[in-house]
Amino acid sequence: MTEKRGGGRQKVMVLYLANSALDSPVVGWAVYDGTGERRHMAGDSDTPPYATGLDALKDGWRLFQASQLLPHHRGEEHDLAYLKYEFFFEQWIGTP
């Protein structure tokens, strides 16, 4: 393992919501812990960490990115691919 640099560590949480409103229900989630305290991975939890995105804000997570709402291309209106309502949150542990 490489020697740790000084400064804080970032924890990132990605929530996928049921619509574009932050207070809509969580349908998918991922957590990446830069402190190394816990190794999150695919399939490690069947229960969302928060019921909604708003609950994450109330618990101190800082929202730093949200997916855009994009128009649907003609002829491809029914095509589905990736989850649509993606919100990135962070917490800093220690001083950045």
Binding site: V27, A30, G43, L80
Partner: protein
């Protein structure tokens, strides 16, 4: 052979999988495990890739070229040949991909316990969730048979899959960012369990935290002839059922009810498009361009006209 019912086919169209618990007799399971062979014990400094390569090289499971007729692919009397001859398996294959299916590829998936990773210096983590192959815009589908020749506990990881994701057109592991999705399932099963998957279903191998290896054998196959109306097709489609204002529970075992059952991860708007895409697939399989459930496609198909 035992063909699938309308309800089983509708469930496959809606959810992308069918599960048959302990469907393969123990005798075939034991034969398969003997033919697959055992992984060499973990050794310090030995990379997992080398261990896996050695297991595959010494395994009794043959190399087979893609494009081989499925029922000629395996040596007579081998465990997989016997498995493919079971009436349930024959019937499910016939129902899903029709007559004369073709072998695409197979693989012996072995998931190793922690000591192998520690010995090789690698990290013991689950596989990222993905869709197999590559972006596949077809309406028709291939089938992947996942065979679990021994019992799988939760500690052993098991295949993780997300029901209902199969109709999304994504690019393999581009969705690896999604660690967990509501409604995901983990294969915990008895020996001899089979999963029949639509090729598009999102899935990944779980992390093995037990003391032993976990084995799963996958075969991908595709149709060479018609895929339409190959199952035990029942009476014509149900009449449209009342929607929105309903005064009680409606029957849950009709094709329409099965096709219109949402998954826990459905987004509120695109969940409706999932219904639309399920109806499109049911139309294709039944060769009935007028079929609809809950009016989703009929509503969209009213051509704008000016009535004189």
């Amino acid at each position: 052979m035992t063909l699938l019912s309308d309800q089983q086919m509708a469930s496959f169209v809606a959810r992308g999988f069918l599960r048959f618990e302990a469907a393969v007799p123990e005798e075939i399971n034991a034969q398969f495990m003997a033919e697959a062979g055992e992984a060499p014990e973990a050794r310090p400094e030995r990379k997992l890739r080398a261990t896996y390569g050695s297991l595959l090289a010494e395994s009794g499971i043959p190399e087979i070229a893609p494009g081989t007729p499925l029922f000629q692919a395996y040596p007579q009397g081998s465990a997989v040949e016997r498995l493919l001859g079971l009436p349930l398996v024959r019937g499910a294959i016939r129902s899903l991909v029709g007559e004369d299916p073709v072998f695409d590829h197979h693989f012996l998936h072995v998931t190793f316990p922690p000591r192998y990773h520690e010995a090789g210096g690698g990290e013991n983590v689950s596989q990222h969730t993905h869709q197999d192959s590559t972006i596949d815009p077809r309406l028709s589908f291939d089938v992947q048979i996942m065979y679990y020749p021994h019992a799988v506990t939760r500690e052993m990881g098991g295949t993780r899959f997300v029901p209902g994701t199969h109709l999304r057109k994504v690019s393999e592991v581009a969705l690896g960012r999604y660690q967990n999705i509501r409604g995901q399932q983990h294969m915990v099963c008895e020996a001899g369990t089979l999963l029949f998957l639509h090729h598009g279903l999102w899935h990944g191998g779980g992390v093995n935290l037990s003391d032993g290896t976990r084995t799963m054998f996958k075969i991908r196959l595709h149709a060479s002839r018609s895929q339409q109306r190959q199952w035990d097709v029942g009476p014509a489609a149900d009449a449209q059922r009342p929607i929105f204002l309903v005064k009680g529970r409606q029957p849950a075992d009709t094709v329409a009810a099965i096709l219109m059952t949402p998954e826990p991860w459905f987004e509120q708007d695109t969940g409706r498009l999932e219904f639309v895409n399920r109806v499109k697939l049911w139309r294709y399989l039944t060769d009935d361009a007028t079929y609809d459930a809950d009016y989703w496609l009929t509503r969209l198909e009213h051509a704008p006209q000016v009535f004189a």
